[in-house]
Symmetry: C2
DNA sequence: AATAGTGGATAGCGCTACTATCCAATGTCA
DNA sequence: TGACATTGGATAGTAGCGCTATCCACTATT
């Protein structure tokens, strides 16, 4: 498969593919001669992965590079694997709110611990939660323990749906790709479902039989 | 309050404030003379709102302008209000996947309808859900009806937590700001909770008493 | 009178993610 | 054999976004 065919197969232009090659997002094709290389199904799959991460997940090129680096040297244990996936999916660095290393409020640390999660320093997910709680609080939107616990219960239900499949890949690289792509593609679904539920609840309160709004 | 004081109060530089004024994100101060205007608490609040939407919500300047425009002409009914908020919080336009108007797969339309949500064309949230389902499916990650229903139930729980407060603002503008800012600040919390739950479930399966993986 | 701050306008910058152009080497087809 | 297209590789340029810097005339303060 030539680069032009790779371009046709993926819908991505040749200059962009060359860019991805330069940036290390796409592994080189097998060189047949000085001016010829052949690409295969793995390249098609890789390009689709990159486009999904960029288009749907809004990951930067730099983040995507982290993903492919992880895929090429996947962590050995399943636990590290999920940590790697979550690390790559961490929130973007916020320009103004705190420095990257610290920035988690003590109260947020306590809330994270109260959920039974590992300490913020020990897991990407816990750290991300701490940062999100801190950001909300700093913006004048503190989240009560009760609300957080309710949400956490709901999200445990959500997580239960696909955690089996996420870690059941035949190889570490498969499982890692599964965990990353799965979260990237389904996070928007989760958020959209939240909005739909908000609208439904709102409609019930406003339009239900005798239901009056507050 | 002078512009320099506004800058001090918000941590945003004067050139940036001037930029926000130019772009219509920040309303003009009250002109006292040709070279003097005074700003008040409403400006401080507005700047903080803008920074929250940009830093935490990753909204573009254009989107923030939509938010501000909506705040200045808030919709009359509570139902329209939530629609406006959700419209502003819709996913970013994806460069490659489909045109903006259509692009929702028929199967996704059916799944949205099966949840009891309004048709995709009628509500921003339903439309966003349709798009997310379509994108996932196109990327080779179809979401089963069962999974979707489970997730929807969980998200109803989540939505129940703050829908009262979201619509209970004293004015339409307050309620609108509440709905927008609340979602912007808490979406990252929801997603982080999902990750934490994934790690907890994974740890239970891997490390529990006699628990074996898969 | 000197100075510093202001509103207003215009231009430039840094970054990201491409996109375009050029080149020599090679493959392809007449 | 020779014209022509394509390729890999390198380098440079572009578009858009979100600021940032500079300049100016004016005005309030000292």
């Amino acid at each position: 498969m030539r680069i032009s065919q790779l371009a046709d197969a993926t819908g991505v232009g040749i200059p962009t593919l060359k860019y991805y090659l330069r940036e290390g997002l796409l592994h080189a094709g097998e060189a047949e001669s000085a001016t010829r290389a052949s690409y295969d199904a793995s390249h098609v799959e890789r390009v689709r992965l990159v486009r999904t991460l960029i288009d749907v997940g809004r990951l930067s090129i730099e983040r995507v590079r982290e993903v492919v680096a992880a895929l090429e040297h996947p962590p050995a244990t399943r636990h590290e694997l999920l940590g790697t996936a979550h690390d790559v999916l961490r929130a973007h660095d916020q320009p103004r709110l705190g420095s990257p290393a610290d920035g988690i409020a003590p109260a947020a640390v306590g809330q994270v611990a109260a959920l039974g999660a590992p300490p913020c320093a020990d897991s990407p997910a816990a750290r991300q939660l701490g940062l999100a709680l801190t950001a909300a609080s700093a913006a004048g939107w503190p989240i009560s323990d009760h609300t957080l616990e309710t949400w956490a219960g709901a999200m445990r239900t959500v997580a239960g749906q696909d955690i089996d499949a996420a870690l059941a890949g035949t190889s570490s690289a498969d499982a890692l790709r599964y965990a990353i792509v799965g979260n990237v593609l389904t996070d928007p679904v989760i958020i959209a479902l939240r909005r739909v539920a908000q609208e439904q609840l709102s409609a019930e309160m406003l339009g239900g039989t005798g239901g009056q709004f507050r």
